[in-house]
């Protein structure tokens, strides 16, 4: 059994995340999704990997697979500086509130999303948000991209050290850029 990095996120029920360590498998899940959505949290402004801001990795992922972005908290400003205009600026709880409604039309009004990806949130808040979607949004799957095991996600990375995490993200981006599923 995997233990979340932060003990406050200890799992409390039967349904827990499928832990995936292989970037190509992650990429496959993302490409297979019809309407993925990437949620960027404020920690993307503070965490750096290999000299790059975590947000830049987020931007690369979004660009590589043409994924719309929801800039939560105050991430919009930096995102604009990086040349990306987010499709939504709902805050984390607000976007989750919309996502859990099957009938919602999504950030591009094309239909609700089926794969929601999380990057750069505090783990306790992330775990709570994922709980809402786990229990009340059976029409979508959640996927976390941070270096922590998130029991409430559908798909999660294991706890990783920074070097392995950076490697994973780079591999993921490379995989996403490849043609084909």
């Amino acid at each position: 059994m995997s233990i979340p990095y932060h003990y406050v996120n200890v799992p409390t029920g039967f349904k827990t995340a499928r832990i995936i360590e292989d970037a190509s498998e992650y990429a496959h899940l993302i490409k297979r999704a019809r309407r993925p959505l990437l949620l960027l949290g404020p920690l993307t402004l503070r965490i750096s990997l290999n000299g790059r801001l975590l947000m830049e990795y987020g931007v690369d992922i979004a660009k590589a697979a043409n994924i719309p972005v929801c800039a939560t908290a105050h991430t919009k400003k930096k995102l604009l500086e990086l040349g990306v205009t987010p499709e939504s600026t709902y805050d984390i709880i607000e976007i989750i509130n919309h996502l859990k409604d099957k009938e919602w039309r999504g950030v591009k009004k094309e239909g609700n999303h089926d794969l929601v990806m999380f990057l750069g949130f505090r783990t306790d808040l992330g775990q709570q948000g994922l709980s809402t979607l786990k229990h009340f949004a059976p029409h979508l799957r959640t996927m976390t991209l941070c270096k922590y095991y998130y029991p409430n996600a559908a798909y999660s990375l294991p706890n990783l050290k920074d070097d392995k995490w950076g490697e994973f993200l780079e591999n993921l981006i490379a995989n996403l850029k490849e043609k084909g599923v």
Partner: protein, 768 residues
């Protein structure tokens, strides 16, 4: 002879309790409402502000049929589903809050009635004629004596038993109805708060009718360690004030230091400005471990459960003074004071004393005696590397930290002589000690922080109690005409996500923008942790008046009643709406027309949940920090999808305003930057005059640009006519409005929800 005895109904009983024959106002539709009396109002609120659940635990473990995993379509063995279970736990938390505040109030009332009698008059000074806006509105009673306050507490107690009953297995089956009960609990909680603070003010002669209360010393370093030190922790000021009295009576006030943590600190400094405030809840363990306190006196609420152990470790004596927290200690209340002192000094016995005056006497005597024998040495920077030597970077401390802090890295760096990271961690530390609990090398992490914790003295404004009627009258016009963009209240506990001084920063942002800024409880203390370039805290920088650009501390957490009270008084004093048993009309007024917003950035307790839910029933929105996602429930709208139709009281027509104001009733925001922008938005109300709307939008737009880089993405929802656009941004905004295809919307002066749902209240009541 036949004697016909008229049967007394419950309604008759209520009218008797509230002295209905005393016609200071006619009695409204809901005197002393029971659980289902305001249900229609609740359901109307919940229709727009739907419950949003984030289950904290997948299981229900409440009965012996469990444990039941409620994930997905699974229900519990009793038939309950996940949303209903979450509503149930929320109600449980709110009941706990009601009980905590109510029992504290009951203690104080009983204590004071014993001292002064039931007929002791309530007088809050020449500036406060509307002495109890909450009791007047909820019960329909104008309290004149302590005996009247007792009636109010009895009303709370009576309601609480029904609410707790509904928590039992096989009770409520609807999440919305659990929420309605939670809202009811919140309302009862506010009554309890008001009873308690009025009783305290009147019984302990706390300041009232004064805005300019003294600035007191705050900070863990403010205590004179060379003197005997008594530390009071908790919420009930009976013991703390008795200690002050004892010192004064025996001319020892300059000999002994009295300091406090948590609400007690805020109470005792309303009693004596010589008392010192150590800090909020997050500084409790840190300070206890420092050993600076010679005697620790605990009463109730928010005290560490292991205080007995910690006191022993630190060599401090301990007196428990409340039947809520006895720690397994011997009850020595009946013994002679000097006998108790002897046992405590000679063999280090810790005791339970349930009479405040005796506890006070013993505390002082013990402190004086043992202070002489104790060394109070604090850790210095030079000692740190040695203490950290054993650390092998396992990072179990990181994993245990509920605030997710990089404790391990801070300790590692400190070992090398670099204390930067440790300072950062200390500023965000919640003071729980979990980092140390599992440390395999027993590194004394909290003690290390003594080397980096600033020992500076900060100035904190002591609590002033209710807002003055005259102040309310004065701000009425500016609020209408728009020079005051809103009232923002920073309240609640210290479970902050980041630095403790974020609250000070947020408050400053609004004070300098000429909002009215109010604070209470641990948040009021956190506000004092930041000094500007001139060394001033926010309390020294801004005037303590309930006016534009004013920064006030109403007092402890029970003083939160005065914040809701201010909103109620605006409806009554300025808009001349009757309060008596008129809850729905007043709450409708506040929701639609009073631009107020609460912020509980570090809420952690059940009490906070009750207070916030109580605010919500009044129609006051609240912003909470990320930890509050663990309360499991929020009240959110979806601005573009939901129905923002209200009744226009002037034309008696329903009007679709398309304006989400306020957008949510309680919402979790992750970062302080986003919180600041959200707060500005949440102060917008449908009846803003064009000038008022201009001013509010000026701040919303300016803040959104500053922190998010652009005009707000929902700006078009808040512009009714072009005269709503703040001058400075007019050109940009006009362009934007054209781009999104904006159309003009009606400006209402009498927006109300009355008429949009089934209610006993006639539309006329909204106009008086």
């Amino acid at each position: 002879m036949v004697v016909i005895v008229k049967k007394k109904t419950r309604k008759d009983e209520k009218l008797e309790i509230i002295r209905a024959e005393d016609l200071w106002e006619p009695v409204g539709p809901t005197p002393m409402p029971d659980l289902a009396d305001l249900r229609n109002w609740d359901m109307r609120l919940l229709k727009t502000y739907k419950p949003f659940y984030a289950p904290f635990c997948d299981l229900c473990c409440f009965c012996t049929y469990g444990k039941c995993d409620l994930t997905g379509e699974q229900g519990g063995a009793c038939g309950i589903d996940m949303p209903t279970q979450q509503g149930r736990i929320v109600l449980l938390a709110c009941c706990g809050g009601v009980a905590a505040h109510g029992a504290h109030g009951r203690h104080i009332i009983d204590y004071l009635i014993e001292k002064y009698g039931e007929d002791y008059k309530i007088d809050l000074g020449t500036q406060v004629a509307v002495e109890a806006p909450i009791i007047r509105t909820v019960l329909g009673l104008k309290p004149e004596t302590l005996g009247d306050l007792k009636k109010a507490i009895e009303y709370v107690e009576r309601g609480l038993i029904h609410l707790v009953s509904s928590l039992h297995t096989g009770q409520e089956g609807s999440d919305l109805d659990y929420e309605s009960k939670a809202l009811h609990a919140g309302m009862l909680d506010h009554v309890a708060l008001e009873v308690t603070d009025i009783a305290q003010i009147v019984g302990f002669s706390f300041p009232t009718s004064i805005a300019d209360t003294p600035l007191v010393d705050f900070g863990w370093g403010v205590v004179d360690k060379t003197k005997p030190v008594i530390l009071c922790i908790g919420h009930n000021p009976a013991t703390a004030t008795s200690i002050i009295d004892y010192l004064n009576q025996n001319n020892l006030q300059d000999e002994v230091e009295v300091c406090g943590i948590c609400c007690t600190a805020l109470e005792v400094t309303r009693y004596s400005k010589a008392a010192k405030v150590i800090g909020p809840l997050s500084r409790q363990l840190f300070f206890v471990r420092s050993g600076v306190a010679d005697v620790i006196v605990t009463e109730e609420q928010c005290i560490r459960a292991d205080t007995s152990l910690e006191a022993k470790k630190a060599g401090s004596a301990l007196i428990a003074a409340s039947d809520k927290a006895c720690y397994g200690l011997d009850n020595v209340t009946e013994k002679e004071a000097d006998e108790i002192v002897k046992e405590m000094v000679e063999v280090g016995k810790q005791v339970l004393i349930l009479v405040p005056e005796k506890a006070a006497e013993v505390a002082v005597k013990v402190a004086i005696k043992i202070a002489r024998q104790r060394e109070k040495e604090l850790i210095e920077a030079s000692q740190v590397p040695e203490l950290v030597q054993e650390c092998h970077n396992c990072r179990i401390c990181d994993r245990n930290c509920p605030n997710l802090l990089p404790v391990g890295e801070a300790v590692e760096q400190a070992g090398k002589g670099n204390l930067e990271k440790l300072i950062e961690v200390f500023n965000k530390c919640l003071g729980c000690g979990k980092c140390e609990q599992d440390c395999p090398r027993n590194i004394p992490i909290l003690k290390l922080m003594q080397a980096v914790a600033s020992g500076e003295t900060f100035k904190l404004r002591s609590g002033r109690g209710p807002i003055h009627d005259v102040e309310i009258r004065k701000v009425g016009a500016p609020i209408v005409l728009g020079t005051i963009p809103g009232v923002v209240a920073f309240v609640g506990c210290s479970n902050f996500p980041e630095e403790i001084d974020e609250v000070a920063e947020m408050m400053e942002e609004f004070a300098r923008r000429k909002y009215i800024v109010v604070a209470s409880g641990c948040a009021a203390m956190a506000a004092a942790t930041k000094k500007d370039a001139e060394g001033k805290t926010i309390y020294e920088k801004y005037p303590p008046d309930f006016d534009a650009g004013g920064v006030l501390n109403v007092g402890s957490c029970v003083a939160n009643s005065h914040i809701a009270g201010a909103a109620i008084k605006i409806a009554n004093i300025f808009a001349a709406l009757p309060l008596r048993a008129n809850y729905e009309v007043i709450a409708d007024y506040i929701l639609n027309r009073v631009g107020a917003c609460g912020v509980a950035w570090g809420a952690y307790s059940w009490k906070a949940a009750a207070i916030a839910t109580g605010c919500n029933r009044w129609g006051i929105p609240v912003v909470v920090g990320p930890h509050s996602s663990k309360y499991r429930r929020l009240y959110l709208s979806r601005k573009e999808e939901d129905d923002w139709t209200v009744m226009d009281g002037r034309t008696r027509q329903l009007v679709d305003t398309q304006e989400p104001s306020p957008e949510h009733l309680i919402n979790v925001v992750e970062s302080k930057e986003r919180a600041i922008v959200t707060i500005a938005k949440l102060c917008i109300r449908k009846n803003d005059t064009p000038q008022g709307r201009q001013i509010k939008l000026n701040h919303y737009i300016a803040l959104h640009k500053q922190y998010l880089g652009t005009l707000p993405d929902d700006l078009h929802l808040f512009i009714r006519r072009t005269t709503d656009i703040p001058i400075f941004f007019k050109k940009e905004v006009m362009e934007y409005l054209q781009k999104v295809g904006w159309k003009e919307k009606p400006v209402l002066t009498l927006p109300t929800l009355i008429g949009t749902y089934p209610s006993k209240v006639p539309l006329e009541a909204v106009i008086h």
